[in-house]
C-alpha cells in the first residue's frame, strides 16, 4: 500500500461541535453566505487537503445551534468554480431521492469541476426526512437497503448511458450524436424502475467515486469504504474488514477546549483531542492501514488553521494537483462504461 495518505476535511457549518459557532472567527449571520463558503474552500485547498465533504441533515426545529445549511451539492457546485484541485464530495442521502436528479447533478458537478466530484452516500432515514418529503417513514432495514442499492445502481447506470464517444458532431451525416451510443438504461430494481438516458455526456471521471459506510450498499457499488470506530484498534480492525477498492477512516479532531464549556457528545468515531504532534503521529500510523482519512473538526475556524500549519505539512501526503481528478487522487482507475463497445 502507498503509505502516503489523502486527507480530507468536513466543512459543514462552523464545525461538528454543537457550540462551534460560538468559537467561530466570524459573526453567525455571515455563515450562510457566498463569501464564507468561498473562504473555507480556499483555506482547505491552500492547506493541501485532498477533498472536502459537505454534510447533510434534514432541517428540524431550531435549537441553540446553527439552524441552516446550503444544499450540499449546490454548495459543492459553487466551490467547483472557486477551487481548482480540491475534491468536492457532498453527502446525498438515497432515502426518497430521485436517482435521475442525483445522477444529473453529480455528473454536472463532475463536469463543472473537471473530474473532482465524489458522492458520500448518506444514511439519513429519519422521521423528519420522511415528513419533509411527505412520505411514510420507513424503518425496515431491508427495504432501506434495497432502496439505497437501487438509487445508487440506477445513478451509476445513468452515468454510463452516454458512451464516451457518443458525440460525433459529423456534419456530413447531419448527426450530432450517435444514437447507438446513447442508451436507455431500463433499470428495474427491487423498489422502482426508471428509463434514462441521462441528460448529459458521461462524467469526466466516467463514474463519480462513491464513498459509503459498510453495510449500506453491495460491494460492487462502492469505490471507497468509510470506516469509523471509537478506538484506533477498532479502526484498524474495521479497515482490515473493508472490501471496497479503497478505505477511508473518519477521525474527529478537537485541537482546543470545548467552546462555551459545552461538551461534544461522543459518537462512533475515533476522536483526537490534544496536541497537533500526537495527531501527526496518529495519522502517520493510520496511513499504513487506510488510503485516506476524513477529518471532522470540532471548530472549523480554530482547527483548520492548526491542521494547515502544523499537521498537514508534517505528513507525507498525496496532494491533489490542479487538473487532476478525484479518482487519480484516490488512485482509482477510470472505469470503462458498461455499454462501451
Amino acid at each position: 500500500m502507498d503509505e502516503r495518505s489523502v486527507i480530507g476535511i468536513e466543512i459543514d457549518g462552523d464545525g461538528a461541535h454543537p457550540a462551534a459557532w460560538r468559537a467561530a472567527a466570524h459573526a453567525p449571520n455571515t455563515l450562510l453566505t457566498a463569501g464564507r463558503l468561498r473562504e473555507v474552500g480556499d483555506r482547505a485547498e491552500r492547506a493541501g487537503f485532498g477533498f472536502v465533504t459537505l454534510a447533510d441533515v434534514t432541517a428540524t426545529a431550531p435549537g441553540t445551534g446553527v439552524a441552516g445549511r446550503f444544499d450540499p451539492l449546490t454548495a459543492a457546485a459553487f466551490l467547483s468554480a472557486t477551487t481548482s484541485a480540491l475534491g468536492l464530495v457532498p453527502v446525498v442521502h438515497p432515502a426518497h431521492a430521485e436517482p435521475f436528479h442525483v445522477s444529473n447533478q453529480l455528473s454536472s458537478l463532475d463536469h463543472g469541476s473537471r473530474g473532482r466530484a465524489g458522492w458520500l452516500v448518506g444514511t439519513e432515514a429519519t422521521p423528519a426526512r420522511a415528513a419533509a418529503h411527505g412520505v411514510r417513514h420507513q424503518t425496515d432495514p431491508q427495504l432501506l437497503a434495497a432502496e439505497a442499492e437501487d438509487v445508487v445502481d440506477a445513478t451509476r447506470r445513468l452515468w454510463d448511458s452516454w458512451q464516451d464517444d457518443a458525440i460525433v458532431a459529423d456534419e456530413s451525416t447531419c448527426r450530432f450524436l450517435d444514437a447507438d451510443r446513447v442508451h436507455h438504461i431500463d433499470f428495474r430494481g427491487r423498489t422502482f424502475g426508471i428509463r434514462g438516458p441521462a441528460l448529459m455526456p458521461r462524467p469526466p471521471q466516467g463514474q463519480v467515486p462513491v464513498l459509503a459506510p459498510p453495510g449500506v450498499l453491495p460491494d460492487r457499488l462502492v469505490d471507497v469504504e468509510i470506516v469509523a470506530a471509537p478506538t484506533e484498534e477498532g479502526l484498524r480492525a474495521a479497515a482490515a474488514r473493508a472490501r471496497a477498492p479503497k478505505v477511508l477512516a473518519e477521525v474527529e479532531v478537537a485541537l482546543g477546549p470545548d467552546p462555551a464549556g459545552v461538551p461534544w457528545p461522543v459518537g462512533e468515531r475515533l476522536r483526537h483531542t490534544g496536541s497537533t504532534a500526537d495527531l501527526v503521529a496518529l495519522l502517520g500510523r493510520l496511513a499504513t492501514v487506510v488510503d485516506a482519512v476524513r477529518l471532522v473538526p470540532a471548530v472549523l475556524d480554530r482547527d483548520l488553521p492548526l491542521l494547515a500549519e502544523q499537521v498537514l505539512p508534517a505528513l507525507d501526503l498525496r496532494r491533489p494537483a490542479p487538473g487532476g481528478t478525484l479518482r487519480e487522487l484516490f488512485d482509482l482507475p477510470r472505469p470503462a462504461g458498461r455499454y462501451a463497445s
Partner: protein, 456 residues
C-alpha cells in the same frame, strides 16, 4: 390620442441569454464538439452577457432527452448540465447577471427544490429566478421513481400547491433571524424560523432570504389557464409571440389579466424567444441569416420536423421535394417526443402545412424554414435597434430571450454592436440598476410577500 408606438416612451429593453433544451448553433464551427456541456464555455457566455448588461440568463428544460421515431434524437445538440449546478458555478464567477432556471413542479420535490433554488439565490447575492413549468407527461415520468402522471385538469392546481409550498418555505425564515454575535443566547432568534405544514409535508427552511427576498418567478403558459396562473404569481413570462401585432395582443391580454388579479399592469416582464443576426448592411445580414439557417437546418433536422407529424420515417422523401402525399400515421405520440407541438393533431397539422406549401409552392425544406423564420431580427445594428425600440415603446415586449448563434462566443456580436445602438436610442441600460435580479428587472417584492404583508 397617442399612437400605440409611443405608449411607453421611456421603457427599456431587457436582454436574457436564452438556451432552450438543445439549442441550435453551428456545432461544426465550434472548437470542441462537447463545448455545449463545458462549464468553461458557459463561464465565457455568462461573462459576455454580463459585459452586455443582460438582465439574466434563462435556461429551458426537459427531464428526458428528446426522441424521434423511437430513437434518441441525433440531429441536434441535446441535453444540458443540471441548471442549478451550472448556476451555482456561474454565481461564483459573475456579479450582476440573473440566473433563471426552468424547473418542473411535476418532477421535483418542493422541499428539495426550495432549498436548492434558495442556495443559488443566496450564493448569487439574490440573482436567481424560477420559471415554473408543469407537465402531465408520463413519458418523461418514466425517468422518475414517482412517475409524472398528473391529470390535465389537476395540473395547475398541483403546480399551484407545489409553488405555495416552496414560497412558504422561503418565507418561513425571517430576515435577520441569525444572531449578529457569538454571545447571543442562540444562533437564531426564537420563533424567527418557522415550520411549514403543507401538501402532506412538515418541513423547516434551510436558508435565510437572499437580498432580493426570494427568487423571481417566471412562467411560460400559453393557455388561458396558464396566463391566469401567470397573472396570479409570475413576475416574468416567457412567450412565443414576436410578430408585432401578436406580441402586442399577448401583452395587452396579460396586462388585463394582471389588473383583474389585483396587480398593477406593469408588474410583469414579457420575454419572447428570438435570435438576432446582424450585418454591416441589410443584405449582408440577410446573407448571414441564410448561412445560419442552412447550416443549422440540416436535411435530417428538416425531415425530422415533418416526420414528427407524419409519424414515420421519410428518408425516401427528398427535403427539396413536396410534402408526403400520404396522410400521417395518427399514433405519432408514441413515436416522437419532446418537440413542441406533439400534442397537435397530426392530420390537422398536415392539412395546415399542405395549405401553406400549396399556396406558396414550398418544398419540405422551404416550409419548415418558413414555419421557423418569423422569430428572428435580421439587419444592421441600427435597423434592429430601431425595430426593438418600437416594440418596447409600444409595450409589445419588455425583453427578449435571445438564443446565441454560436458556442461560446454567441452573444459577443449583440454585446459589441447592438447594445451600443440600443443605448444610443435610450432603450437600454448603461449600467446595472442594482445587484439583484429583482432590482435589475425593476420589480418590487414577490407577489406572495405582498399578499403576506396585506393579510398581516
Amino acid at each position: 390620442m397617442a399612437a400605440p408606438e409611443v405608449a411607453r416612451p421611456h421603457a427599456r429593453l431587457h436582454l436574457a441569454g436564452f438556451f432552450p433544451f438543445g439549442p441550435a448553433y453551428v456545432w461544426s464551427e465550434a472548437e470542441r464538439d462537447d463545448v455545449y456541456y463545458d462549464f468553461a464555455a458557459w463561464r465565457q457566455l455568462a461573462r459576455s452577457a454580463e459585459r452586455g448588461l443582460f438582465s439574466t440568463l434563462f435556461l429551458g428544460d426537459s427531464q428526458r432527452l428528446r426522441e424521434h421515431l423511437g430513437r434518441i434524437t441525433d440531429h441536434s445538440v441535446t441535453g444540458r448540465p443540471d441548471q442549478l449546478v451550472l448556476f451555482a458555478h456561474l454565481a461564483a464567477v459573475t456579479e450582476r447577471i440573473g440566473l433563471v432556471a426552468t424547473l418542473n413542479t411535476t418532477f421535483t420535490d418542493p422541499v428539495d427544490l426550495a432549498r436548492r433554488l434558495a442556495s443559488v439565490d443566496v450564493l448569487s447575492g439574490g440573482r436567481a429566478g424560477w420559471n415554473v413549468v408543469t407537465t402531465d407527461n408520463d413519458w418523461t415520468g418514466e425517468n422518475f421513481r414517482r412517475g409524472g402522471e398528473v391529470g390535465h385538469a389537476d395540473r395547475y392546481r398541483a403546480a399551484e400547491e407545489h409553488l405555495a409550498t416552496v414560497e412558504a418555505l422561503w418565507a418561513a425564515w425571517s430576515r435577520g433571524a441569525e444572531a449578529g454575535s457569538a454571545q447571543a443566547p442562540s444562533w437564531s432568534a426564537p420563533g424567527a424560523i418557522g415550520q411549514v405544514v403543507r401538501s402532506a409535508r412538515r418541513a423547516w427552511p434551510s436558508l435565510p432570504p437572499s437580498p432580493q427576498g426570494q427568487p423571481v418567478l417566471f412562467q411560460a403558459g400559453e393557455s388561458g389557464e396558464g396566463r391566469d396562473f401567470a397573472a396570479r404569481h409570475a413576475e416574468g413570462i416567457f412567450s412565443r409571440y414576436l410578430q408585432f401585432d401578436a406580441a402586442l395582443e399577448f401583452a395587452t391580454d396579460l396586462r388585463r389579466r394582471l389588473v383583474r388579479a389585483g396587480r398593477p399592469e406593469d408588474d410583469l416582464r414579457i420575454f419572447p424567444a428570438t435570435r438576432i443576426i446582424l450585418g454591416d448592411t441589410e443584405s449582408e445580414a440577410q446573407e448571414r441569416a441564410r448561412w445560419f439557417r442552412d447550416r443549422t437546418w440540416s436535411d435530417r433536422r428538416v425531415r425530422a420536423v415533418v416526420e414528427a407529424v407524419w409519424g414515420h420515417d421519410l428518408s425516401d422523401h427528398p427535403v427539396d421535394g413536396p410534402l408526403p402525399a400520404t396522410d400521417p400515421v395518427v399514433a405519432t405520440q408514441t413515436l416522437t417526443h419532446g418537440v413542441v407541438n406533439t400534442s397537435d393533431r397530426p392530420l390537422r397539422t398536415a392539412a395546415a402545412w399542405r395549405g401553406i406549401a400549396a399556396g406558396r409552392g414550398y418544398t419540405m425544406r422551404q416550409l419548415v424554414l418558413h414555419l421557423n423564420e418569423s422569430v428572428e431580427f435580421v439587419g444592421t445594428p441600427a435597423a434592429v435597434a430601431d425595430e426593438l425600440a418600437r416594440y418596447v415603446r409600444a409595450g409589445a415586449i419588455d425583453g427578449l430571450n435571445l438564443q446565441p448563434n454560436a458556442m461560446p462566443g454567441g452573444f459577443d456580436e449583440v454585446v459589441d454592436r447592438l447594445v451600443p445602438a440600443l443605448q444610443d436610442r435610450g432603450v437600454y441600460r448603461t449600467e446595472y440598476e442594482g445587484t439583484t435580479l429583482r432590482e435589475n428587472l425593476g420589480l418590487g417584492p414577490a407577489v406572495a410577500h405582498r399578499d403576506h404583508v396585506e393579510s398581516a
